[in-house]
Every structure is written in structure tokens, then in C-alpha cells.
Symmetry: C2
Subunit: 194 residues, 2 copies
DNA sequence: ACCGTAACACTAACGGTTAGCTTTTTGGAA
DNA sequence: TTCCAAAAAGCTAACCGTTAGTGTTACGGT
């Protein structure tokens, strides 16, 4: 098979990105609720069905990087340097993710998300998926066949940390504060700390 | 005002309950997705608009006791005996709530919820609301004006505990295991333990 | 007995989403 | 180069949850 970028895949990715860009622009210009799917599709010059073949829902248009965040979390565990403790790697990654949310230009997007119940709800369900993925990675890292209750709990705490930090006055300090709690919780499970 | 049960309030409560009962019956008989709102309304012999004046959404029909759960959590903090430590009260309450989910007859409902993405998503957003309410109660109990990051984090951990325990093979053991972690996290904040 | 209002009803629509089907584009085989 | 199977995109028409707008009835307090 043709390993590098086939034209088909490139065109598909381009279509996807054009839809996402158009949607975000319209949403920011006129408000998420005030812009309909038919409008986004028309402005991006694609059919409504095409839009839905790239994005599972209207909300998914806003969280285009969804899969990336999940990958980052998992890779923070699986791809860390051999001598880095598990929790330290997670703390570092959550710091990076929170930093990313505070990037210039991201503020209007987050304001839009906070203003829309539908978007907030979607973000919550995203977090659960990320927690499940992270729990799996944690289990694998510990040599377990399945994610234990402790793995699942820690994974949830970690994704909660990101969410809470984003809302806090001082996100960096909030991450530090919550990770002190998470490390204590982790230590209480009797897990190794390497 | 007439303190006891006015006829108007009784009729309203009866209508609400009839709608909820009818909906749950139809959902369990034929599947959540296979039953439409118009059908539920017709079977309960009310107008669609009446149904939506009692329940904010189709999913809310399934989680009729939503407000009760939130109240239980908050009251576990505010209404505990003066000598009971905060975390012990919360652990007891989460045990009770998980027990309640395992009640006979509840199994089909939870199977239905697990099978429907819409219901799962709704449950997640419910959890967040409960966590916010609990965070407020925690802050009040500690004499704080606003919920701090630590309060919010602990509140999330507690509602996560309930969710994780419900999915675990041994719910009781899971609650115990997670609360060991939560107590460690709580202690790490330097909070008093009374 | 009367009035204000809460509860309920009806119609019609809006907006997200999907099914069914056709057309175009693309990668690779003949 | 030509042709085919499949992927991608398109169009139409609906389904379904939800809401606005507008009456109508039944109740509680005066």
C-alpha cells in the first residue's frame, strides 16, 4: 500500500479541516446556538451529510482536537522516560494541557463552551472517555491485565484535575494543589512510586 | 397559606408520577430509543407540552430521583451527628447510595442506562451538578465563604466513587477502596479530620 | 361568588440527525 | 491507458426532541 499521504486522505483531511474552521469561525462570530448545521455546511460548501460523516455531532465540531488530548494523556504514561515516576509524568502532562487551554486565542472558545450547556455536557462525556483510556494505560504500565478500581479512580482524578484547574483563578497552582491530593491517594493504594 | 396537601399540588404530583411511571414502563418494555416522546405522552394521556413542563428532557424521565440523590449527598454533610468526621459521613452515604442502586428491580434500569449513550451522558452531567452542590456543602461545613479547589476536588472524587463503585464487580469493596484514597487525598490538604 | 393563576392542551414549527439513494472521485489492477 | 470497486460527497425527505405561541380549564384565596 502507498504508505505516504495518498491524495484521497489528504483531500479528506482538508475537507474535515475546512468544516471545522468554518464552524468555529461562525460560532465565534454569531454564537454557537445561533448558527445551524445547515448554515455551517453551506458556508463550508459541503452537504450536511458530508459534515456528519466527518463529525459525529454539532458539538464535536468545537472539540476537533478531542482525540489528540486523549492521545497526549495516554502517551504521558506510555512514552515517559524510564526513570520518571508515573505521577510526575501525569502532573507534567496536565500542566501542559492546562497551559494549552490558556493559550492566547483560546479564551473566546472557552467562553463559548462555558456559555453552552450542550457543549459543557459534551466536554464532560469526553472526559469520561479520556479517563477510561488513561485507566487502561495505567493498568498496562503496572502490568495488569485489566484496569483495577484504583486505576480507574486515579484516572478520573487526573481528568478532574484538568477540568478543575481550567476553572480556577490560578490554574497552575490548582494543578499543583490537586496533584498533591492525587499523589496521596495513589500512595494510599500501596502502589510503587517509581 | 394552606400548609397541607392542596388538591392542586396533589394533582400535579400525580400527573408527574404517572408520566414517569408510564415512561419507565414503556422504556423497559421496548427500549429507550424505540419509544418516542409523543408516544409516552399519549400513553400517559397528557400533552407533549405538559410532559415537558414536568421533565426538562427525555432523559430526565429516567432519572426522576435526581434531586433526591443531590439532597442525600448534601445532607450527609450538613446533617451528620456533630461527632462524626466529615469523610466518615460521606463514606457512609456513598455506601447507602450504591446499595440503593443494587436494589432488586434496579438492574434492568441500569442495564438500559448503560446501553444508551444519551442516558449515560445525562448521568455524567448529573454527577457534575451533584459535585458542585457537595463542594458548596463542604465549604460551608468548613466555614469557608466559597468552595476552594480542594473542596471541589474532594467533591468530584466522592461522586466519582459512586459511579465507579456501581460499575465494579464488588461495589461495597470498591467504595472502601476508593475512600481510602479519598481520605488520603483529604488528609494531604492539611484539613482537620474531625 | 369571583378573580388571578397554575396546570394542561393544541398546533405548528425549529434544529440536529439519519436513511436511502445517486453521483463523483480516487487508487490500483488488468 | 483503461476500467472497476470502493471511498467520498451529494440530495431529498424525513424522524424526533424540544419550544413558542395561544387558548382553556380547574383550583385556591379573597
Amino acid at each position: 500500500m502507498t504508505v505516504p499521504t495518498g491524495r484521497r486522505e489528504r483531500k479528506k483531511a482538508a475537507t474535515r479541516q475546512k468544516i471545522a474552521e468554518t464552524a468555529l469561525r461562525l460560532f465565534l462570530e454569531r454564537g454557537y446556538d445561533a448558527v445551524g448545521i445547515r448554515e455551517v455546511a453551506a458556508e463550508a460548501d459541503v452537504a450536511v451529510t458530508t459534515l456528519f460523516s466527518h463529525f459525529a455531532s454539532k458539538e464535536a465540531l468545537v472539540f476537533e482536537r478531542d482525540a489528540d488530548f486523549e492521545r497526549c494523556l495516554v502517551e504521558a504514561v506510555t512514552g515517559r522516560s524510564p526513570d520518571e515516576p508515573l505521577m510526575a509524568a501525569l502532573r507534567r502532562e496536565v500542566h501542559a494541557l492546562v497551559e494549552h487551554c490558556a493559550a492566547p486565542g483560546a479564551a473566546p472558545v472557552w467562553r463559548m463552551i462555558d456559555a453552552s450547556p450542550a457543549l459543557r455536557q459534551y466536554e464532560e462525556s469526553m472526559r469520561l472517555r479520556h479517563a477510561d483510556a488513561l485507566a487502561g494505560a495505567l493498568a498496562a504500565d503496572l502490568g495488569l491485565a485489566r484496569a483495577t478500581t484504583a486505576c480507574r479512580a486515579i484516572a478520573r482524578f487526573v481528568v478532574d484535575a484538568r477540568a478543575l484547574a481550567r476553572e480556577a483563578d490560578d490554574p497552575r497552582a490548582a494543578v499543583e494543589e490537586i496533584f498533591v491530593m492525587i499523589e496521596a491517594a495513589w500512595a494510599a493504594t500501596g502502589a510503587r512510586t517509581d
